[in-house]
């Protein structure tokens, strides 16, 4: 079965990619399978300067999920270009560069450095990281700020810009609409929900940062709902994510309105998962009566019976 997908002008071999922050810069997963198998790779967020991130502990477990507060640790955009992209250039898998920042200027600066790198086929604008004290999520929770940062980044980007939305909002469609109007080429949804766990022995939050982002199967119904809602109203390609662990999950996201999907947390449990899902997807589609991804789209999001 042909699994090709177009996300606007970005062409993928298949709709499955690892999610940003859960796959480093690819290298660590190359012992497990050939990265050419992947539909794309969303790499760890890049910021203007190298960042050390938050104090440890940075992760905690939750029922069917986990909390993380890495705090955007990364070698900085120059470090990524110098030390990480050359390795990824060996593959013909599109790289999606996740861009973060504390100020609008930083988003613009990072994007303008990354946009001309040949390996990079799209920018993923991360306005939804809940784990940094400044910037990040405030751009993702205020439609006006979301509009401005998207517009500014679009003005310097030569590559399509996908805006990664935060689920920690009253009205996700309002944010989606704002970035659509600012010229976004697509949406990634969802980022993590802000959560906390408390260490009963130490009587304080497990995560040193206090709060962290909740990911994994626990958030899947929230992701499905938001994707479905946005799909009805905004005409942009959507990369769906949030708790995917199986090909049935992928089908659920595609039916809800996603065009491609990303797998985050599940990579930690099974480092082979992306490849396995790609291999198994055709069989699952057939099992539920679909002959192609196009048929899924037709019977899913574009079918009025699924509209509410």
């Amino acid at each position: 079965m042909n699994l090709n997908v177009s996300l606007g002008e970005v062409e993928l071999k298949n709709p499955v990619m690892p999610a940003s922050g859960c796959f480093g810069f690819g290298k660590e997963f190359s012992p497990f399978y050939n990265l050419n198998e992947l539909g794309a790779i969303a790499i760890k967020a890049a910021t203007g300067k190298a960042r050390y991130g938050n104090p440890t502990p940075r992760v905690a477990e939750a029922s069917s999920g986990m909390l993380n507060a890495i705090g955007l640790q990364n070698p900085g955009v120059d470090g990524i270009i110098k030390d990480e992209l050359p390795y990824l250039q060996n593959y013909d898998t599109p790289i999606i560069a996740n861009v973060a920042g504390s100020t609008l200027e930083e988003y613009v600066q990072v994007t303008s450095k990354l946009t001309d790198e040949p390996a990079i086929k799209a920018i993923e604008l991360n306005i939804s990281c809940p784990n940094v004290k400044e910037g990040g999520v405030q751009f993702g929770t205020d439609p006006q700020l979301a509009y401005e940062v998207t517009k500014a980044v679009k003005s310097v980007s030569t590559k399509p810009v996908f805006v990664k939305l935060s689920p920690n909002v009253t009205d996700v469609v309002a944010i989606a609409d704002a970035v659509y109007k600012a010229g976004a080429d697509g949406l990634s949804m969802i980022n993590t929900l802000t959560g906390m766990r408390i260490d009963l022995n130490k009587k304080k939050p497990i995560i040193a940062n206090g709060t962290g982002g909740l990911s994994g199967p626990a958030i899947k119904p929230i992701a499905i709902k938001m994707i479905h809602e946005v799909r009805q109203q905004i005409d942009l390609p959507i990369i769906g994510m949030g708790g995917i662990t199986s090909t049935e999950d992928i089908l659920e996201f595609l039916l809800a309105g996603a065009d491609a999907i990303a797998v985050g947390t599940a990579n930690f449990k099974d480092p082979f998962i992306c490849k396995r899902l790609i291999d198994e997807l055709p069989e699952t589609l057939r099992q539920y009566g679909f002959g192609s991804l196009q048929e899924v789209r037709e019977q899913g999001c574009h079918n009025q019976s699924i509209l509410l």
Partner: protein, 253 residues
Amino acid sequence: MKQEPLTVVRNQLIALDTYEMVLKGEEIPSLVQVGQFIHIEIGEGEEFMLRRPISIAEVNDEEKTMTIIYKVTGKGTHWLSQLEQEGQLNVLGPLGNGFNIEHHNHDHILIVGGGVGVPPLYHLAKKLSQHNHVTAVLGFQTKEAVFYETQFQQFANTKITTDDGSYGYKGQVTKVIEKLNQPFTTYYACGPSGMLKAVQNQMSHLNGYLSLEERMGCGIGACFACVCEHTNDKGYVKICQDGPVLKASEVIL
């Protein structure tokens, strides 16, 4: 580094809340370097999304087995403790960089362990004892928590301390080390971070290595969960990938 279903050969209580588990497999046991760890999948289904990192305490090449020792401190280790013989465990490993000990010869080596930091040191003591003189100072909370004393005695001059003095010396390992007053050339330590800090301080004149622990996500260097400040250029190391064993003089605890 492999992902392999290992078979439980034995899983038994050896001290307070502490279990010794022997695992058999075709690939992973034969790849183990002393000081590495494995990352263990917990439960079936989707409730537990994170694996558990546990050190390798011993390897038996002929039997294709390895031993881990773990303390039940939460849901995951509780689940492990319920596994029966012939049960299967999905294991990713061996992971990390272990102890580099090949250069040692006729050295006088100090091993310092605390609680569940003791297991990886057993494999180490056994290996080191072949060509060196080894002293081990092992700290536990209380008498019932002590394990592997006789096993260590085979390979090392072994001192036990307990926090409450219910067995061996009373108090912290540093107090015992102070009294030893011996011409150590190198030390290796693994245990709670408070203990490691104290040892790092006390032994700053000596070449030493610490095996560190931190909450982990991926276990393979991809998620930046397990960093530790370091004197290198980047300012940090990833414990899962660059460690868990690191030069004591270079890590900032």
